[in-house]
């Protein structure tokens, strides 16, 4: 019974995941479990395959071997949008928002296209069903924008936003998809301390809503404060996992990744 519970608590289960680009093995026999409600971190040197893992989970690249299970169902081989519909949302290392669209429209994009809702005929004919659908979406999006503190900027064109706000917008857009698991790719990159603080608060708030989070980050102070569990990757393989306090003492990790800076933190 207890084991059953344990199984249920695992949101994302990756087993033996392998990805090759030509002759290069980018991800090698990787096992990762993300538990319900946790904030997990994926760290490792540059080129160790962290972003590739996110790309494999979200279906951008086809996998060469292994299994990815989300909420007990296999999701490998699904196109990115179906992965999204199942409840996995993500952000990108380099912010990818639609510059010429407004903040609201960017967030609305998180409602996706093609999963139910009013179809093209309803859209063109402006039926009550379409209007209802649109009104509901609008309310939802406004609620999330409020949550992320972007309400005042909703009519602004996204490219006019400061960098930190664009990061937040990208996360808000991911939230609109109603994810159960949120993948964040270096959310703190390029942010100043103040912005990082805001971001950490936002991530905690998101986590409080019961959304599990898997994030990639290089800022150790960020990881130290947020992550419940850390996976360390090197050359596509996992070299360690555990809580941050344990990880940062691991000699392999220090040698491959943390170096002096890491030791200072420890």
């Amino acid at each position: 019974m207890a084991e059953q519970n344990q199984e249920n608590r695992i949101v994302l289960k990756i087993e033996g995941l392998t990805k090759r680009f030509g002759g290069l093995v980018a991800v090698n026999e990787l096992n990762i479990n993300v538990e319900q409600g946790n904030i997990c971190a994926l760290i490792g040197p540059n080129g160790s395959g962290k972003t590739t893992v996110l790309n494999l989970i979200t279906g951008i690249y086809p996998i060469n071997g292994g299994k990815i299970e989300f909420l007990g169902e296999p999701i490998q081989g699904l196109p990115p949008h179906s992965v999204c519909w199942r409840g996995i949302a993500r952000t990108f290392q380099n912010i990818r928002i639609l510059g010429s669209q407004t903040v609201f429209e960017n967030a609305l994009l998180g409602k996706g296209y093609g999963k139910g809702g009013a179809g093209i005929f309803h859209t063109v004919l402006n039926t009550p069903r379409y209007r209802k659908d649109m009104a509901e979406s609008t309310d939802e999006v406004n609620e999330i924008l409020e949550f992320a503190g972007l309400t005042e900027l909703r009519r602004e064109r996204a490219c006019n936003l400061p960098y930190g706000k664009q990061r937040i917008l990208e996360i808000a857009r991911a939230l609109v998809t109603k994810p159960k698991l949120l993948l964040l790719d270096e959310p703190a990159a390029g942010l100043n301390s103040q912005e990082i603080y805001t971001l950490m608060e936002l991530i905690s708030k998101i986590n409080e809503r019961g959304i599990s989070i898997l994030l990639i980050e290089h800022r150790m102070e960020f990881i130290g404060k947020l992550a419940d569990w850390v996976f360390v990757l090197n050359h596509g393989s996992k070299i360690a996992e555990g809580t941050f306090d344990v990880i940062k003492e691991n000699p392999d990790v220090i040698q491959a990744y943390l170096g002096r800076g890491g030791r200072k933190l420890a």
Binding site: H81, L109, I120, V124
Partner: protein
């Protein structure tokens, strides 16, 4: 004055429709034909607006889809003898299906790769029209079919009303989730897909809609000319349609309609240029692209419509959708 302006703002489509409907009163028979062609082109261009302007997928095969619509209508009527309305409906359906097939290459291809594919499609259709003589009449062309209405003025009125409905529909799509999905494909396909946009489906819808409008436009073209031959559907025609979309601002329904009608009628005002007409056209387009797009090199610019400060019911927030 301001009131008039906002009113104009809101009902610009109806005003255009009204002007188009009463236009035959003031034109000679010849000028009227030019207007008819303009309206027919506008329907086609609205389809391209969805494909090129919204979704950012360049096509140089639009004349081939126009041909498909036209010829299917003609062949169904001449060879099978079915009624014009049924023929028109089937022609639109068949063109839509063929156009949707064109979406498949777009799943993997973008930019020049896709454009060359559509150029190829255009060539293929042209060659088939010329060589499948028993079906298409080959180089002799096809004639002897009935029109939708016996009175050509009724055809025109029907066409204008159709144009208005199509325009309203296109505008609504622009403000809807579908429109947003299409625009997101243009700007960042991967991000769109990650956000749960079914990119393949959106692309198919985009191709299907543009093909449907091309088919519709083709049926009208068949009705206007009463005769069809392969030479009316060359790559030069595709280029002209592209020109109409670009000059319309790539983002505005009203702009697209105005630019199609103006560009169709332009030869009449440029008579004095005689054989260097196309030279002047392309020069104008080149200058427009160079000046306008370098100045405001943003992905979306409303072009003509923006210049005229008209932007119908552009509900930026997208709330409620559509315009009254």
């Amino acid at each position: 004055m301001k009131k008039v302006k906002t009113l104009l703002h809101k009902y610009i489509l109806l005003v255009i429709g009204f002007i188009l409907l009463i236009l035959p009163l003031f034109t000679s028979q010849y000028e009227f034909y030019v207007v008819e062609r303009g309206v027919q082109n506008a329907i086609q261009v609205l389809g391209l607006l969805i494909l090129i302007g919204y979704s950012g997928m360049m096509s140089l095969g639009s004349a081939a889809l126009l041909a498909t619509g036209s010829y299917t209508y003609g062949i169904l009527l001449v060879k099978l003898g079915i009624s014009p309305w049924l023929g028109a409906l089937l022609a639109i359906i068949i063109t839509t299906l063929i156009g949707t097939l064109l979406a498949f290459p777009s799943f993997r291809l973008a930019g020049p790769f896709l454009v060359v594919t559509t150029v190829g499609f255009g060539e293929i259709v042209r060659i088939l029209l010329l060589n499948l003589e028993s079906l298409t009449g080959g180089a002799y062309g096809l004639e002897g079919y009935e029109n939708l209405f016996a009175d050509s003025r009724l055809v025109y009125a029907f066409m204008v009303v159709t144009l208005l409905l199509v325009a309203v529909g296109t505008q609504r799509i622009s403000n809807s989730k579908l429109g947003l999905a299409l625009k997101s494909i243009r700007q960042d396909e991967v991000a769109a897909e990650i956000m749960g946009v079914d990119v393949r489906r959106a692309k198919m819808v985009s191709f299907a809609l543009s093909a449907m409008l091309a088919g519709l436009s083709g049926v009208f073209l068949a009705n206007l000319t009463g005769y069809m031959s392969p030479d009316s559907f060359t790559s030069a025609e595709s280029t002209t349609y592209l020109l109409m979309v670009v000059m319309g601002g790539m983002n505005s329904v009203v702009g697209a309609i105005i630019s199609s009608i103006v560009i169709t009628a332009l030869p009449e005002f440029l008579r004095f240029l005689s054989s260097s007409r196309l030279l002047v056209y392309s020069l104008v387009l080149l200058i427009y692209l160079r000046v306008h797009w370098v100045k405001s090199s943003r992905p979306s610019c409303a072009g003509v419509a923006k210049k005229l400060k008209i932007n119908i019911g552009n509900n930026k927030s997208g709330r409620g959708g559509g315009n009254g």
